[in-house]
Amino acid sequence: MLEGASLCRPLEDVSDEEVMAVDHAPSKRMKHSHETAADSTIFEKLGLPIQKALTKSYTFFSPLPEASTDEYVLGVDEAGRGPVLGPMVYATCFCKESYYAQLSTLGFADSKQLNEDQRDRLFAVIQQDDVRESSGWSIRCISPQDISQCMLRRSKYNLNSLAHDATIQLIRDALDRGINLKRVFIDTVGPPVSYQKKLEGLFPGIQITVAKKADSLYPIVSAASICAKVTRDAHLSRWVFAEAKLQNNMSNVYGSGYPGDPNTIRWLKESLDQVFGYPGIIRFSWSTCARILLEQAVAVVWADDEDAPNNASLVKYFAQAKASSAAAAGSDNPARPRSKFFGHRRPINISVSL
């Protein structure tokens, strides 16, 4: 059994997101269960935070096989990149090279061709003791709030970067836990060649294959895809609102969550709050949302908005209303720039008779 110290990094190495490293001693390994992933207890037994509001991203590792020098193959895939709501989940599944042939017979196919029941069943298979002896999996669950906040930063952090960084972190975490990776297969939506070069540079000594539709080519990627999808569905179907007052008042009939789905659009229009827009389940950085907010919610202007009026107008918006007298104009003589104390939120001297 791997020593606890090598599984958990020191706290200062952990980023501000929650990292959940599950370290099970052999006696605590999950018993073989016929439960499907649709049953929430499978997630609770694993230790996934399904019952808490998902505001911050987290990383989760399944219990690991016993330590060895065995070489491993690892697959990476994601779920929930396109939808306008819910988390985006990156997942890995890894197994011993000696076990790969056997794993490939368990029924992993192109995950998009599997229905929900088939995915749930395969996810349960992955948790079985005999499978777990030679394999493991992990996820990086990126909360919708983090997606919004990253993409709306003053220095923008786009979705591709989020995706790449999640993948890189998961691979690093596996290596840190002593998984001796020899081959890694990654599904991509962007150009495979440049991404593969980037990863080869980061992980020398590992044979990296980046391919589109990798989940239909490599069973280990399909297994990862199932872990990603099942986790995302688990969060979404039992969504816990950080906005507690909405929990019983907001419809959870989102449709597919994709921007092209009329049911999703209808939910977005019906659930709109004039001032706040939406709860944190929604990815505000999606143009779908931005458009609805623009058309139907009150206007909110940020300093860095492309649509914001230029600086002079913004100052005018906050500034004291200009009296038409020349005296006021004179005090704003632009030839002499005002001290920083008199910026747009400046104090105004008014006399008050008591």
């Binding site: 709030q145 919004s148 906040q149 709306l152 930063r153 003053r154 950080a242 906005e243 007052k245 909405l246 709050d273 004039q274 001032v275 706040f276 827009g277 709860p279 944190g280 929604i282 990815r283 505000f284 950085s285 949302c289 907010l293 139907q296 919610a297 009150v298 206007a299 909110v300 202007v301 940020w302 300093a303 860095d304 913004l314 918006y317 906050f318 004291q320 209303a321 009296a323 038409s324 920083k340 104390f341 008199f342 910026g343 747009h344 939120r345 400046r346 104090p347 105004i348 008014i350 006399s351 008050v352």
Partner: protein
Amino acid sequence: MQATSLPPLTASKRDVINFSGSGELQTIDCLNLLPCAIKYDGAAKSDTYFLPAKQSDDTYEASFRGRQLFGCKIALPSSYVGHVIIDTTVQSNTHDSAFELEFSEESAVEYRELLSVSSFGALTVWEHDRVPPADDDEFISSLEWIDVAASIHADCSSENSS
């Protein structure tokens, strides 16, 4: 819905502000100054959607329209009190004219009557993507101005001016 742009209610020399109110002013401690312009005046479901999380002693984190905000509680200078003021002018003909500060021959309003409805001694100032107080935050600077002005105008007869 077309959001109409309303200028903020800023007082001018022609307004009459009633600070005494009808009784004791209620002190509020939940004032938030956001780093954006919300072009709307009215009720908002802040307690439903705005969920500041305390990070450290005086630092908070929140989210607004998907943007990450960091806030810190700023106390007003000790000899000052903050007031929340509303417009109670009754002679306005239309809603818009209540904000008409230009003296116009058509407007019957020569001044507005403003009423203080609550007071505060501190507020939370929020920044987008950076932790306040930021060096160039003009609101906090304007509070600092109060101290600077006091120093500038202080009696310095005991010092030689040069």
